[in-house]
Symmetry: C2
Subunit: 449 residues, 2 copies
């Protein structure tokens, strides 16, 4: 224990070793004693179902996972705290560097129930202790990206600003921003995400700005707030017009900025009715190019509901950083192969298929995705009819503990997702609950012994 | 931008300055130009409603907030990235140290809609830019603590292990653990939380451990897994008995460990029916003291549903770290006073009461809480009838930018919550949706101008 009130990560923050569950290390210890830790094993990340009966999920967090695996090591301070372990285990952790193989889906790839998203191969000991941190990252990032992708589709080309940092853990906010941007959000309010990931930052003013402009007798002075903002940020800024009265706010905004005002933001009320009224008011005032940006607890459904209204951009906060009702992607990390033998849990509700896996997706000549075929990792790729095209979903990510060269950048993964999302059958983009549009078929797996 | 795949926080992690929204800094810049930044202001954290129509919320994250405020400063690297700001603003941020006053509710205190949870006083400029990081921490930590508290009540004295790290962001996991422990959870699986906050860690083995023990022909060998675990961890360990067949698993567990086995864990199936059967089986085998621990997507409702069953402990994961359906506490940070004048937004759905505030709670002679009374920060404490006792809810937290001495430790706040929770009227502990059991009354505020 070092800092009981730390708002940020500990000084040993380059180490991810303690971002793990105690039982991973007690299993390691028992495994070092009985030899199990040295057995060859394969672990797999997959999801038994998609949260909220959604139609597809978006894989996110892959570069963060690979970095966390590389940083999975232990400082002497940390080791001193692990007093429940014997000397052999401490020594193992002191020297720990993951030296195995990781293969999996690209960041930005679509996934479905039972897609083999990540396959981690090495010794049982070196793989088992990575479970927690791999799942933390993939579950958090994929939950946000999956929700964000639905919002991007609902927005139908209109820009969305991510502005939910205040609604989630201070560092989860940073990576949520990254996941939202991956999914097609245009920019973010979060400056740490802009700094760390190069994501465009945006934002102009809050209600506090308008409220801070009171006259000497305490009466509001919205005009002074607008005038000052225009003087500092120029007429292309966006003025927040709903602090007191929206109609009056719009009138004051144009009076101060002129008809070249960049935009107005509305953060309350019945946004459909209000935006129609404001658009008419702006047009009547001659401010035809002044954009209307809306915020206020928007999610994919309310975004879609505004499709027919004069909205030029959305600001989305709470719903995107919390996965819009589904804050975790419910992915699991299961051992699937030990010394070449497929293994799987058999208890009633959580059955799975043993054996390390890879996957391909078939597409019709139109480009539309048809089926995901999952087959044994070391097997030949299954034959598919010649009128279908085949895309390999499983790509090498780490070799002998090192991240492979040439993995896509965040921008490239963002473009990849935008393209791949277009291959979903049309029902796959529906916001309603329902069946997944691309089924997953397991080919070539023997029954468990 | 420095590290595009960082799994952890940046090397400048002691700085929380960039954990903010861009508009906070553009407002600061405009405020430095027009003088607003130097006006005396008070900001307030409060929640307009409790998520999910719950009966009470639990304040959490206070020491983390105070630390984040102390660490709110900017490195030269960070400043270089803020190229949208003028030199005057950059210079302000370079020298920024919060020097104002913070007062608020203790960590572990109960709260209700419109409770004035935190009051931050200083200049408009120095207070406004703290909004995002204060809310991130309080919203995340209070969401978890509020959900966790309901689970602790539902468990009715039985221990609960927090084991949800894998279902949320890798650092949100650490602070979620802290919030769950504050609320009365007994221990955690998360080793970083154990290291950082001194929370007891627990956990024994996963299904992977059992699955890794296969014979040379690939057939399962649960007995070898159990035997090895017992040899390493002793007979007081907990064996996970549901990898293949629960009845067979229990039989094997007792065969290997003897009747002094510490516990068995069951992670699937109809837990009520299964625990009753397993209890009978254990008793028939003479293992009367062997505990039964259950896990598998438990939340406060399923915990309560098992109250009549032979369960000795719960493992709770996803639901607690995600706030059991309410992943954020929806607290806001609003300017309430400028140069001594109360200010408040007036737009339809988001009205609030202006003016800096403090609060007391009255209790009947039985100790039961009656009412929360909110009054102007600088006013005299309102008179209450002499048969009621009064508790001051607002305490000093920072003076002139420094955290006050003697704030409670995590253990003390945990004990405080356990005690204060006992003052709720009985309907306040109900899990069902409903009205809050303690109403909040505003006294002595003039109408906004």
């Amino acid at each position: 224990m070092n800092d009981s009130a730390s708002a940020v990560s500990s000084p040993a923050s380059r180490s991810t070793g303690l971002l793990t569950d105690k039982y991973e290390l007690t299993m390691l210890q028992a495994g070092l004693r009985d030899g199990t830790a040295h057995r060859k094993a394969a672990f797999e990340v997959f999801a038994r179902r998609l949260p909220g009966e959604r139609r597809y999920g978006v894989v996110a967090g892959i570069p963060r996972v690979l970095k966390a695996i590389e940083d999975f090591r232990f400082t002497e301070d940390q080791l001193a705290d692990l007093d429940f372990l014997d000397e052999q285990t401490i020594e193992y952790l002191r020297n720990y560097r993951f030296s195995g193989q990781v293969d999996g889906y690209r960041e930005g790839e679509l996934y479905f129930p039972n897609s083999p998203l990540l396959t981690v191969r090495g010794t049982f000991g070196e793989c088992v202790i990575l479970e927690t941190v791999i799942l933390s990252i993939m579950n958090a990032d994929s939950a946000v990206a999956s929700a964000a992708s639905r919002m991007v589709v609902a927005a139908d080309g209109r820009p969305i600003i991510e502005m939910g940092s205040r609604r989630t853990h201070e560092y989860a906010a940073v990576t949520a921003t990254r996941a939202a941007y991956l999914a097609g959000f245009t920019s973010t309010s979060n400056l740490e995400a802009a700094y760390r990931y190069g994501i465009p930052a945006s934002g102009t003013a809050a209600h506090a700005w308008t409220l801070a402009h009171v006259n000497d007798d305490g009466t509001p002075n919205e005009e002074a707030a607008f005038r000052s903002q225009i003087e500092t940020d120029g007429v292309d800024t966006t003025l927040l017009v709903d602090t007191y009265d929206i109609t009056k706010g719009v009138e004051t905004a144009i009076k101060v900025a002129g008809t070249e005002l960049g935009g107005v933001r509305i953060d309350s009320g019945d946004l459909g009715a209000v935006t129609r009224r404001v658009r008419k008011q702006l047009d009547d005032l001659g401010a035809h190019n002044t954009r209307i940006v809306v915020s206020s607890d928007l999610d994919e459904f309310s975004i879609a509901g505004l499709r027919g209204d004069p909205v030029d951009g959305y600001g989305v906060g709470t719903s995107v950083v919390t996965g819009s009702g589904e804050p975790t992607a419910s992915m699991v990390y299961k051992v699937v192969e030990v010394e070449g033998h497929p293994v799987a849990k058999r208890s009633s509700s959580k059955r799975s298929v043993g054996g390390a896996k890879r996957a391909i997706r078939t597409h019709r000549s139109t480009g539309v995705a048809l089926e995901e075929i999952v087959f044994p990792f070391d097997a030949e790729q299954p034959e598919v009819p010649s009128h279908l095209t085949v895309r390999e979903l499983t790509v090498p990510l780490m070799r002998d503990g090192h991240v492979v060269e040439g993995l896509p950048t965040l921008e490239e993964s963002r473009a990849f997702l935008a393209e791949i999302r277009g291959t979903l059958p049309w029902e796959g983009l529906a916001l309603s609950k329902g069946d997944v549009p691309v089924s997953t078929r397991m080919v070539g797996f023997p029954p468990a012994k």
